[in-house]
C-alpha cells in the first residue's frame, strides 16, 4: 500500500494534515486512524463509498468536527486543540466552503450571500458588496446579483455558493459533493470555474466526491474505506502520449 500522499516539498509545512484521526458517532466508528497530507496549492479529491467516512474526514480537517483521537494540523499547527471560538475564527478567516446544495441564505440576495464571509470578517458593507459583485462576471452570473436563492437555477445557486466560498480568498476551499445536485454539463461548468479560480488564487482545495469525473479535476485522489485513507497515486501514465485523444 502506498503512503498517505506525496505531501509538501522539503522545508514546506503541509497546508493540511491528519495524523491517526479517530472519530465515532456514539458506538459507530466513522474514522479509524485516518492519515492524510495535503500540500499548499494542491487540489485533492477524497473518494470512497457512501458511509466510508469521507465527509467526516473533511469536517475534521476543516475544524467543524473535533476528533476523539489523533491530530489535525493547518500549516503545521494543531487545530484539534483549539476551543470552539478559535475554530470558528479559523473557519471564517482561513477556509471557504461549498456544499452539495449550495446552502444559500434564502432571505439574502445573491450578492449579499457572496459578501457574507467578508461581512462576518469585519469588512464594511459597501466594500464587501463591491468585492462580491466582482465575482458575478467571473462565474458567469451577470445580472443575477439581486436575485434570491429561490429565483436561481441549481447551477446558478451553486456558482453563487462557489463565489461565497472564494470571496475572502481562503487558504483552503473545502467542497463536499459540489456537483452532486447538478446535471453533468452544469456540474462540469462549476468544476471548470472552481478549478480555474482556485489555481488563479493558489488556493488549496479538498473536494469530497463519489464522481470520478469530478475527481479527475484534482491533482491527486485518495480513497476512504472503513474510516482509513488509501492513497492511489500519482501513477505514471499508461498511454504513450499524455493528453492525446484517440480518433
Amino acid at each position: 500500500m502506498i503512503g498517505p500522499g506525496p505531501g509538501p516539498g522539503p522545508g514546506q509545512a503541509p497546508a493540511l494534515e491528519a495524523r491517526g484521526v479517530e472519530l465515532s458517532f456514539g458506538p459507530t466508528p466513522a474514522l479509524r486512524g485516518a492519515d492524510l497530507t495535503v500540500a499548499p496549492g494542491e487540489m485533492l479529491a477524497i473518494m470512497g463509498p457512501s458511509g466510508s467516512g469521507k465527509s467526516t474526514l473533511l469536517h475534521c480537517l476543516a475544524g467543524i468536527l473535533v476528533p476523539d483521537r489523533g491530530e489535525v494540523l493547518v500549516d503545521g499547527r494543531r487545530t484539534d486543540l483549539l476551543d470552539e471560538t478559535e475554530r470558528s475564527a479559523l473557519r471564517r478567516d482561513r477556509f471557504g466552503f461549498v456544499f452539495q446544495f449550495g446552502q444559500l441564505v434564502p432571505e439574502l440576495t445573491a450578492e449579499e450571500n457572496v459578501a457574507l464571509p467578508l461581512l462576518l470578517g469585519g469588512t464594511r458593507r459597501a466594500q464587501a458588496l463591491e468585492t462580491a459583485r466582482g465575482w458575478f462576471a467571473r462565474l458567469e452570473l451577470d445580472g443575477l446579483e439581486r436575485r434570491r436563492s429561490g429565483e436561481l437555477s441549481g447551477g446558478q445557486a451553486q456558482r453563487v455558493a462557489l463565489a461565497r466560498g472564494m470571496v475572502a480568498r481562503p487558504a483552503v476551499l473545502f467542497a463536499d459533493e459540489p456537483t452532486g445536485a447538478l446535471d453533468s454539463l452544469t456540474g462540469e461548468r462549476v468544476m471548470d470555474l472552481l478549478t480555474a479560480a482556485a489555481r488563479e488564487q493558489g488556493t488549496t482545495v479538498v473536494v469530497v466526491t463519489h464522481e470520478a469525473r469530478v475527481a479527475a479535476y484534482a491533482d491527486r485522489e485518495v480513497i476512504v474505506r472503513d474510516g482509513k485513507v488509501t492513497s492511489l497515486g500519482p501513477v505514471a501514465s499508461t498511454t504513450t502520449s499524455p493528453g492525446q485523444v484517440q480518433r
Binding site: T195, R213, A216, T238
Partner: protein, 174 residues
C-alpha cells in the same frame, strides 16, 4: 481477452490437461465465445516453445493419450506481473479487467490491490482527458468526453466489484 495469459493463469492454479483447461476457460471466461480445441492446443504449444509451460507425464489409458501441462517459473512470473499491472485505460476493457479479477480470486491473490492500481491508472487517464477538454477545441473535447464516459463506466464497475469481492471469491472458489 488475452487467451495465452489466461490459460497460463489457470495452469498457475494446478497442472492440467488441455481438455480440462478448455472446460475451466469456458466456465469462467467463455460464456459467449467458447475456446475452440484447436486454439487451446496451439496456444499451449506456443507457451511450451517459449518455456512458459512444460509437458508433464503422458497418461495412457482406454482413451486417447493425454498430456499434462505444468507452468514453469518463467510462466508463473509472467502471470504474477500481468495480474498486478494496470491495463492501459482504453475503451472495451471489460473482458481484460474481468479476467484479471476472476483469475486473481481463483489464485488467492489480492484482487483489491490490483483494482486499486487499475483505478489509479483510469483516474490518471481521466485527468489527462479533462485537461484536453479544458484546453482544446470542441471537436477534441467531444472525443475526450467519449473517453471520459467510458472510463467512468469502468470505474463504476471497479467500485461495485470491490464492494462484492468477498462474495465473488466465495463463488469462483466453490
Amino acid at each position: 481477452m488475452n487467451v495465452p495469459l489466461t490459460l497460463l493463469g489457470l495452469l498457475d492454479r494446478e497442472p492440467s490437461h488441455g481438455y480440462d483447461l478448455k472446460r475451466d476457460y469456458d466456465t469462467f471466461f467463455g460464456h459467449d465465445k467458447p475456446l475452440p480445441f484447436g486454439q487451446v492446443y496451439a496456444t499451449l504449444g506456443r507457451l511450451a516453445r517459449d518455456g512458459k509451460v512444460v509437458v508433464g507425464e503422458m497418461e495412457t489409458g482406454a482413451g486417447p493419450e493425454r498430456k499434462q501441462y505444468v507452468i514453469t517459473e518463467q510462466g508463473a512470473t509472467e502471470v504474477e506481473a500481468w495480474l498486478t499491472e494496470p491495463v492501459a485505460p482504453e475503451p472495451h476493457l471489460q473482458t481484460v479487467l474481468f479476467s484479471k479479477v476472476v483469475l486473481s480470486l481463483l489464485l488467492g491473490r489480492d484482487a483489491e490491490a490490483y483494482l486499486d492500481v487499475q483505478r489509479a491508472a483510469h483516474l490518471q487517464r481521466m485527468r489527462e482527458l479533462t485537461e484536453v477538454r479544458r484546453t482544446s477545441g470542441l471537436v477534441d473535447a467531444l472525443l475526450a468526453d467519449h473517453g471520459l464516459f467510458r472510463l467512468e463506466a469502468d470505474l463504476r464497475w471497479i467500485d461495485l466489484t470491490v464492494a462484492r469481492l468477498d462474495a465473488l471469491a466465495a463463488e469462483v472458489r466453490s
